[in-house]
Amino acid sequence: MAKELIMDIKDFSFKYAGAPKPSLENINMPVYKNKITAMIGPSGCGKSTLLRSINRIHDLYPNNEYTGKINLLNIQSDEFENILDIKKENDFIRLRQRVGMIFQKPTPFPMSIYDNVAYGLRLDGVKDKKVLDEKVETALRGAAIWDECKDRLKESAMGMSGGQQQRLCIARAVALKPEVILFDEPTSALDPISTKAIEELISELKKDISIVIVTHNMQQASRLSDYTAFMYIGELIEYNKTDKIFLNPKEKLTEDYITGRFG
């Protein structure tokens, strides 16, 4: 079965505003459709910087510099578009609807559970109450949290547990039917039971969505992902199928990292 690409990162470099040298240099990496791609590496290696380039969230802060290409498949036209070319606000909004993001700490908005999930939909212009109700329910079911919160949709999301909040954030992203979801260490603030629930959810999501996940936790990468990228000081050292990376790494640096010799 031929693997289908959803995204292709080509000669990508990134420099933060005012930084003396780039944080990422010459990254080349494919992202396959309906697969989970994990990015691992020690703190400061640039994995989160790379992740945050994919939905251009860096653009919230001025004067960062990008070079190279991040080509994202447009499902409608079946053509790849370089997201680094985006300049207009409307195109940014479209990009972020197509590429969702989940953060390290849960980020529920200070409003009801229902309104949290409906937030992105309303921004997208969905007004019909029936349509909203339906999409909110589908999203909450999709994030495996419907049963826990169907009776308290009107209650504030701030009262949920950390694990529930994180799943709510996933539901909020899923509601927009994105093609890709980026996870930035989504379980590092959670307890083991919540972590397990989130991991199961991520595995479930890949049926419909391509996933890129940054994690500090190597067991998590090996349990969860299909492909793994090992990064070190701004460079992509090795990229391969996850079992190859963990069982038979080609690079000495990768082997040292996954065997815990540094990091």
């Binding site: 939905n55 919230l60 609807q97 700490k105 980020t107 908005f109 992105g120």
Partner: protein, 273 residues
């Protein structure tokens, strides 16, 4: 115990003693003020003060006038101050924002009599007489930098991830600020506004030659407007015991009003902040 240890213990005791005495001294003045006001004020306090205007020996119109002007100042000043605070925290970056932030902080410590004089010069003198609007504007000028600083500080407490999460769901910057960030900072902002209100309601100097005061019931901000604080100043200068007692009662009431608003603000912070 050797001599070094003994010396350390002694130094410790001396410093502790000195700071305790200093703290008590500060508190003594606070309670002294409160007790004096209470003793002098309470004897003059009478329910009829709330039903009669100054011209009939009551305080009704003064309390009302003071509230109205502080409220108008809040209505004028809060939107301006909040928008400026939002600019500083969410949009402004670099040199200009820092200059504005510094200027606003300087404004906060501007002598209030100077603000009164300024409003007199640019507003009262050309318009041909003291009036309630001028008083409200003078109070608003005092209130704006307080609201700017509160907004700036409260927004800085909202984690940046919340902004990023809003943007990541396809929000534009202004929508994320209006719909999420302000909501997340709501309790702090409300408290800040309440404390700013409490701060300006007790002011005298900005009103002295802007609103003046008025012995009669008035709801017309276009004329000299009743002010509790300005009347306290007038009454205290009046050579009769009756006037002085009324001034004490008014001072006591003003203190209670400011104290209660402050306490409400602090309770809100403690419960929800």
């Amino acid at each position: 115990m050797n001599s070094t240890e003994r010396r350390r213990l002694l130094t410790n005791k001396i410093i502790l003693g000195l700071s305790t005495i200093s703290a008590l001294l500060g508190l003594v003045f606070l309670f002294w003020i409160l007790i004096t006001l209470f003793l002098k004020g309470v004897s003059a306090l009478d329910f009829s003060l709330f039903t009669k205007d100054l011209v009939d020996g009551g305080l009704r119109n003064l309390i009302f006038g003071q509230f109205v002007m502080a409220l108008m100042a809040t209505i004028i000043g809060v939107p301006l101050g909040m928008l400026a605070g939002i600019y500083l925290r969410e949009y402004g970056n670099g040199k200009y924002a820092n200059i504005i932030r510094d200027l606003s902080d300087i404004m906060m410590s501007a002598p209030s009599i100077v603000i009164g004089a300024f409003v007199f010069a640019v507003f009262v003198a050309p318009s041909g007489g003291i009036n309630g609007w001028a008083g409200s504007i003078a109070l608003a000028i005092m209130l704006i930098p307080i609201v700017v600083s509160t907004t700036d500080n409260m927004l800085s407490l909202v984690p940046k991830e919340l902004r990023e999460a809003g943007i990541a769901l396809g929000g534009s910057k202004h929508k994320v600020i209006l719909q999420i960030i302000l909501k997340a900072a709501k309790v702090g902002l409300m408290t800040g506004i309440l404390l700013a209100f409490a701060r300006v309601i007790g002011e005298t100097a900005p009103l002295l030659f802007t609103s003046g005061t008025n012995s009669f019931w008035s709801t017309n901000l276009g004329n000299a407007f009743p002010s509790l604080t300005v009347s306290i100043y007038d009454l205290a200068n009046f050579p009769t015991d009756k006037a002085r007692n009324l001034a004490w009662a008014a001072s006591f009431l003003l203190t209670v009003i400011v104290l209660v608003i402050n306490l409400i603000g602090r309770f809100i912070i403690r419960d929800k902040g």
